[in-house]
C-alpha cells in the first residue's frame, strides 16, 4: 500500500501506470541527501553513545549505595514520553532557556538571549541529546534484566582474584556475554532513532529536516500529487534504517576482531579509575539533565509572564491547569481504556506463549525477530498503508482498530520485559506443585503467576507507557476521532503556547508514572508478610 504509490500506481490521483517519476522528484528535492545522512548518522551515534554510557555505568557500579540510588532514579525516566522529554530539553538548553536564565545575568552578563543556534541545530546534536536521554534508561533496564542469567558477580570475582580491577573485569568477562542478549534492544534503538518524528519536529534540524519529518510533511501536503513522492520517501526511510542496522552489524564484526587481542592481553588496571569515575558521572549527568528538563516543564505549567533573564517566573498562576483540566477528561479516559485494553491483551498473549515454552522446555523463541519488526520498520513507512488497507476491507477506524495498532508496538516490549523473568524462575516450583496432584492450570495460577507478580506488573507498566506515548497509530487508525493525551499534546504544541503544552506534557508523564508506582507498590502490599516473594525482578 505504500510501495505501490512509490512506483506511480495510485488510481484515485490518476496514477495508473508504474513509473519511476516519484523517485526522480524525490532525488531532485533540495536537501534530500542531507536529510538522509542526518537520519542515518543520528541513529548510529545515538545508539553508540547510549550504549557507551550504559556499559560504562554497569562496569563502574559496584553495588554501593550511590550505584543503587542512581539505578533507582533511572527507571522512572523510562516512563516520561518522548515528546515530553523533547519539550523539556528544548526549553532547558535553548539560548533563552532554563540553564541560561539561571546563569544570567550573574555569570554571563547577558540581558538579551544570545543568538546561538542550539535547538534545531543543523548537525542534529540537540536531537541526539534528546534521544540519548530517552534511550539510556531503556538500554539500562534491558541490560539489568538480562544480566542475572550470566552470573556477573561470580565472573567478576574470579577475574578479581586474578588481579583485575573490578571495572576491567566486568568489561572483559561480562560484557562480551551480555551483548548478544541486548543486541535486539540496541537494534530497536537504532531503528527508532533513524525514523523518529515527534522528537525531530521539536529538537531536530529544520533546513533540511531529517528524512522522517520530510516524509510526514509530504504525506500531509495539500498538493495531493506529493503523495507519490511521500510514498517513495517512506520506502527510502525504510532503506536508511536497514542501512544503519547493517552498518552496526558490520561494526559488531569489526569490534569483535579488533578486541580479541585486548581481551587476552592481560592488562588488568589500565583505565580502571577513568571508567569508574566516568561511568557514574555520565549516567548521573544524563539523569540530572532529564530531571532538570522536567523541572522546567513544571515551572512553565504554573508560570505567569516570565521575563528573560529572571531565574523564576515573575508570577505564578494555576490558570493554565484550570483551563486544560475540563477539556482533558475525555482524552484521559480514551488513553486509559486503549492502554489498558492493549496491555491486557498483550499480557495474555505473551504469558500464554511463555507458559507454553516453559512447560514444553522449548528453547528461546527463534522467531523473536518477527516480534521486533514493528519496532524496526519506521512507523511513517507503514502506517499510511495500513490505514488504506483497513479501509479497503471495510474496517472503519474505531477504538478496536487503535487497540490492535497499539498491540503491534506493545507486545514486543512486554515480551522483552517478561521473558527473562520467566526463564529465570526455577521450574522446580511448578514441578513440586504438579507432584502434589494439582492440574497444570492450577499450578500456573497458584504457583507460577504469584511468583512472577512483580516482573509481570513491571512489564505491564512498561507496555502501558508505550501505549500512552503512541501518536501516529492513534491518529491514523482512529481516524482522528480517538483523542488521547498524546494527540492533544501534539495538537496543542502546534499552537505554541508553551505553558499549556507543559501542562499536557506533565499529564502525559503522570499516567505512566502512576503505572510504574503501582507496579512497585502492589507486590509490596500483596506480599507484605512474605519478603522473598517481592521483587523477583
Amino acid at each position: 500500500m505504500v510501495l505501490l504509490p512509490a512506483f506511480g500506481y495510485l488510481p484515485v490521483l490518476g496514477g495508473n501506470t508504474f513509473h519511476l517519476e516519484a523517485w526522480q522528484t524525490l532525488w531532485a528535492h533540495a536537501g534530500l541527501q542531507r536529510s538522509v545522512l542526518l537520519s542515518y548518522f543520528s541513529g548510529l551515534i545515538t545508539a553508540l553513545v547510549a550504549l557507551f554510557i550504559v556499559v560504562l555505568f554497569l562496569a563502574a557500579s559496584q553495588g554501593t549505595l550511590l550505584d543503587r540510588a542512581i539505578r533507582r532514579m533511572v527507571s522512572p525516566l523510562l516512563a516520561i514520553p518522548h515528546a515530553a522529554v523533547a519539550f523539556g530539553l528544548a526549553f532547558l538548553i535553548a539560548p533563552s532557556g532554563l540553564l541560561v536564565r539561571w546563569a544570567s545575568p550573574g555569570l554571563t552578563g547577558w540581558e538579551r538571549p544570545p543568538d546561538l543556534l542550539i535547538v534545531n541545530d543543523p548537525l542534529g546534536l540537540a536531537l541526539m541529546a534528546g534521544l540519548i536521554l530517552k534511550e539510556v534508561p531503556f538500554l539500562l533496564l534491558m541490560s539489568l534484566a538480562a544480566l542475572p542469567q550470566l552470573r556477573p558477580e561470580q565472573r567478576v570475582t574470579v577475574a578479581r582474584s586474578l588481579g583485575y580491577a573490578p571495572s576491567i573485569a566486568w568489561l572483559k568477562c561480562v560484557f562480551p556475554a551480555l551483548y548478544p542478549l541486548i543486541r535486539l534492544p540496541v537494534y530497536a534503538v537504532i531503528a527508532y532513532a533513524t525514523s523518529v518524528v515527534d522528537m525531530a519536529l521539536i529538537l531536530g534540524p529544520t533546513l533540511p529536516p531529517t528524512l522522517s519529518v520530510s516524509v510526514l510533511t509530504w504525506f500531509n501536503d495539500p498538493d495531493l500529487n506529493r503523495r507519490f513522492m511521500a510514498s517513495a520517501g517512506a520506502v527510502l526511510q525504510f532503506g536508511v534504517t536497514l542501512a544503519a542496522l547493517l552498518t552496526w552489524w558490520l561494526g559488531e564484526q569489526g569490534v569483535k576482531r579488533l578486541c580479541q587481542r585486548w581481551l587476552a592481553n592481560g592488562s588488568r588496571a589500565s583505565g580502571a579509575t577513568a571508567i569508574a569515575f566516568g561511568g557514574r558521572a555520565l549516567l548521573l549527568s544524563v539523569t540530572l539533565l532529564a530531571i532538570s528538563a522536567l523541572v522546567g516543564l513544571v515551572l512553565f505549567s504554573v508560570a505567569g509572564f516570565w521575563r528573560f533573564p529572571d531565574a523564576l517566573p515573575g508570577t505564578f498562576t494555576l490558570d493554565h491547569w484550570l483551563r486544560i483540566l475540563p477539556s482533558v477528561a475525555k482524552p484521559l479516559i480514551n488513553t486509559l481504556s486503549v492502554g489498558l485494553a492493549a496491555t491486557l491483551i498483550a499480557a495474555v498473549l505473551v504469558v500464554a506463549t511463555l507458559e507454553h515454552a516453559a512447560r514444553y522446555q522449548l528453547p528461546a523463541w527463534r522467531a523473536q525477530w518477527l516480534l521486533y519488526l514493528p519496532l524496526i520498520v519506521p512507523q511513517v513507512a507503514f502506517l499510511f498503508g495500513l490505514v488504506v488497507a483497513a479501509e479497503s476491507v471495510a474496517i472503519r477506524p474505531q477504538q478496536a482498530l487503535v487497540v490492535a495498532g497499539h498491540l503491534l508496538f506493545v507486545v514486543p516490549y512486554l515480551y522483552l520485559s517478561l521473558s527473562e523473568a520467566y526463564r529465570r524462575l526455577d521450574p522446580r516450583w511448578f514441578q513440586v506443585a504438579l507432584s502434589l496432584g494439582v492440574p497444570p492450570w492450577r499450578a500456573f495460577w497458584q504457583v507460577r503467576l504469584p511468583l512472577l507478580l512483580a516482573p509481570l506488573l513491571t512489564a505491564c507498566a512498561v507496555s502501558l507507557a508505550v501505549s500512552i506515548g503512541q501518536y501516529l497509530p492513534t491518529l491514523l487508525l482512529g481516524g482522528g476521532r480517538i483523542s488521547t493525551i498524546t494527540t492533544e499534546a501534539v495538537a496543542m504544541a502546534s499552537g505554541g503556547n508553551r505553558r499549556l503544552v507543559a501542562v499536557l506534557a506533565l499529564l502525559q508523564t503522570l499516567l505512566p508514572f502512576i503505572g510504574f508506582s503501582l507496579a512497585l507498590m502492589i507486590p509490596r502490599l500483596v506480599w507484605a508478610k512474605r519478603r522473598q516473594m517481592r521483587g523477583a525482578a
Partner: protein, 405 residues
C-alpha cells in the same frame, strides 16, 4: 425458499429502504428537511486544535447545537488541516463513498483548492444556508472568494483573518511601517525579527505580502502563475530576502516553526517584532501571561493581506444535514458575536454588521478593548490574496533557494 430466509430478506429489504433516505445527500434548498434529518446526528468537525481559545469556542458551539438543534458536535483536533485532506483522499482511494470519518473541515486557501481539484467536497450548499444572506456577498466579495478562487457554494464563510504586526514597545520604539522599512529596521536591530519557516502558511503569507509590496501589486499575482514570467516577477523578492536574512533571528540559518512560535520567541525575549494572522493575537497573549504588557499591535501603512476562512463538507460524509445545520449556526449573529468577543476568541465576523437589525447589532457592541489590541479603525486596509498557485510556486522557489543551509 425456506420461510426463515424469506423473512430475513424481507426484514433486510425493509431496513435497507428505511436506511437509504438517511444516506442520500439532503437537498440544501429544503431547509426544514435538512434540520429534521440533522436531529440526532453526530457531526465530526475537523478543526485545528492548537489554540485553547478556539477549542473553547468550539465547545460552546457544541453546547448550543445540542440544545437548539439536537445535533451532537464532536471537535476533532488537528495539528494540520492537510491531514484531514489526506484522510478524505485515502477514503476515496479505498472506495469509501458514503461513510467518511469527517463531516466538516475548517479550511481555506490551497487546502480548499486541492480538495476541489480532486472532487473531494460536497456542494454547492453554502448559498442555500438561511444565514448566508447576512454576509451580503454582493457587497463583500471576499466571503465567496478563497485566494482568488470562487467558492461556488462549496464552502461556507466563518471568520476573517488579517496579517497584524506586533512589537514589544519596551525593546523597540519605532517599528517598521512597510516592507522596505523592515529591512532598515532589521539592520538596526539584528536578530530580533523572523518569519515562520516555509511551508507554514503564515510564513508563506509573509512572502506574498513582501512580493505584493515589492512588485507594486503586479496584476499577474491575481491570475495563475505563468512559468516564464515567474522569475522576472519574483526577482525583487529574492533580492530583498537575500539582503534581509543575515539580519534575522539566527542569521536566517533557522526559522521558527509557525506563527504561534513567533509569539513564544517574543515571550522568551528573543524577538522584539513579530506578526500573526489574528488581529487579536497579541492582546490575547498578554491576557494569558504569554507576552509582556508593553506589547502593541499595528498594521502596515499600505495595508496587509487578509483572508476569510471557511468550513467545507467532504463528499462522503454520512452526516451532511448535521454539517449544514452547523455551518448555518456558525453564521448566526449570536455565534459570530460570541466568536468576536475578546474574552472568548476574538476572530472577526464575516457578517455585514451595519446591515443587521438592531437586536443583532447590539450583540456586536463591545465595550471591551485592550491596550495591546489593534485600534478599532486599523483593519480597513485589507489587501486581497493572490491566486493559490502563487503560494505553491513561492514555497517551492523559497525551499529551492533557502531550504538547505
Amino acid at each position: 425458499m425456506k420461510p426463515r430466509t424469506t423473512l430475513t430478506t424481507a426484514v433486510a429489504t425493509a431496513m435497507l429502504s428505511l436506511a437509504l433516505p438517511a444516506m442520500a445527500a439532503p437537498d440544501p434548498t429544503d431547509w426544514d428537511a435538512v434540520l429534521q434529518a440533522a436531529e440526532g446526528q453526530t457531526v465530526y468537525w475537523n478543526a485545528w486544535g492548537g489554540d485553547s481559545r478556539t477549542n473553547r469556542y468550539i465547545a460552546w458551539v457544541s453546547e448550543q447545537m445540542q440544545s437548539t438543534y439536537g445535533v451532537n458536535v464532536a471537535h476533532v483536533k488537528l495539528d494540520d488541516t492537510g491531514s484531514a485532506v489526506a484522510r478524505v483522499l485515502g477514503e476515496k482511494q479505498a472506495g469509501n463513498m458514503d461513510d467518511g470519518r469527517i463531516d466538516l473541515i475548517w479550511i481555506n486557501g490551497e487546502n480548499f483548492a486541492a480538495m476541489r481539484e480532486q472532487d473531494l467536497l460536497f456542494g454547492p450548499f453554502a448559498e442555500s444556508l438561511p444565514n448566508f444572506a447576512l454576509t451580503h456577498p454582493d457587497e463583500n466579495p471576499e466571503v465567496v472568494t478563497d485566494f482568488t478562487l470562487p467558492t461556488e457554494g462549496y464552502e461556507s464563510p466563518w471568520g476573517k483573518a488579517q496579517i497584524t504586526f506586533y512589537y514589544d514597545s519596551a525593546q523597540t520604539e519605532t517599528p517598521p511601517q512597510s516592507i522596505a522599512d523592515l529591512l532598515e529596521w532589521a539592520k538596526d536591530n539584528p536578530g530580533q525579527f523572523s518569519y515562520p519557516r516555509i511551508p507554514d502558511f503564515t510564513g508563506s503569507t509573509f512572502l506574498k505580502q513582501a512580493l505584493i509590496e515589492l512588485s507594486n501589486q503586479d496584476d499577474a499575482l491575481y491570475a495563475p502563475v505563468v512559468e516564464a514570467e515567474f522569475a522576472e516577477i519574483t526577482a525583487p523578492l529574492w533580492d530583498y530576502l537575500d539582503e534581509l536574512h543575515p539580519h534575522l533571528w539566527r542569521s536566517g540559518r533557522s526559522f521558527p516553526e509557525s506563527g504561534p512560535n513567533l509569539r513564544a520567541l517574543m515571550s522568551d525575549g528573543e524577538l522584539s517584532l513579530a506578526f500573526s494572522f489574528y488581529p487579536t493575537d497579541a492582546a490575547v497573549a498578554v491576557m494569558e501571561y504569554e507576552l509582556p504588557e508593553s506589547v502593541r499591535s499595528y498594521v502596515l501603512e499600505d495595508g496587509t493581506l487578509g483572508n476569510v476562512h471557511f468550513v467545507a463538507i467532504p463528499f462522503n460524509s454520512p452526516h451532511k444535514a448535521g454539517a449544514m445545520a452547523l455551518a448555518n449556526f456558525l453564521l448566526s449573529p449570536e455565534a459570530q458575536a460570541q466568536k468576536q468577543s475578546l474574552s472568548i476568541w476574538g476572530d472577526r465576523t464575516v457578517l455585514a454588521v451595519s446591515r443587521l437589525d438592531e437586536n443583532d447589532k447590539a450583540l456586536f457592541e463591545q465595550g471591551e478593548s485592550h491596550p495591546s489590541a489593534l485600534p478599532a479603525d486599523a483593519l480597513s486596509n485589507t489587501l486581497a490574496e493572490p491566486h493559490p498557485s502563487w503560494m505553491t510556486a513561492l514555497q517551492d522557489a523559497w525551499l529551492q533557494r533557502y531550504g538547505v543551509n
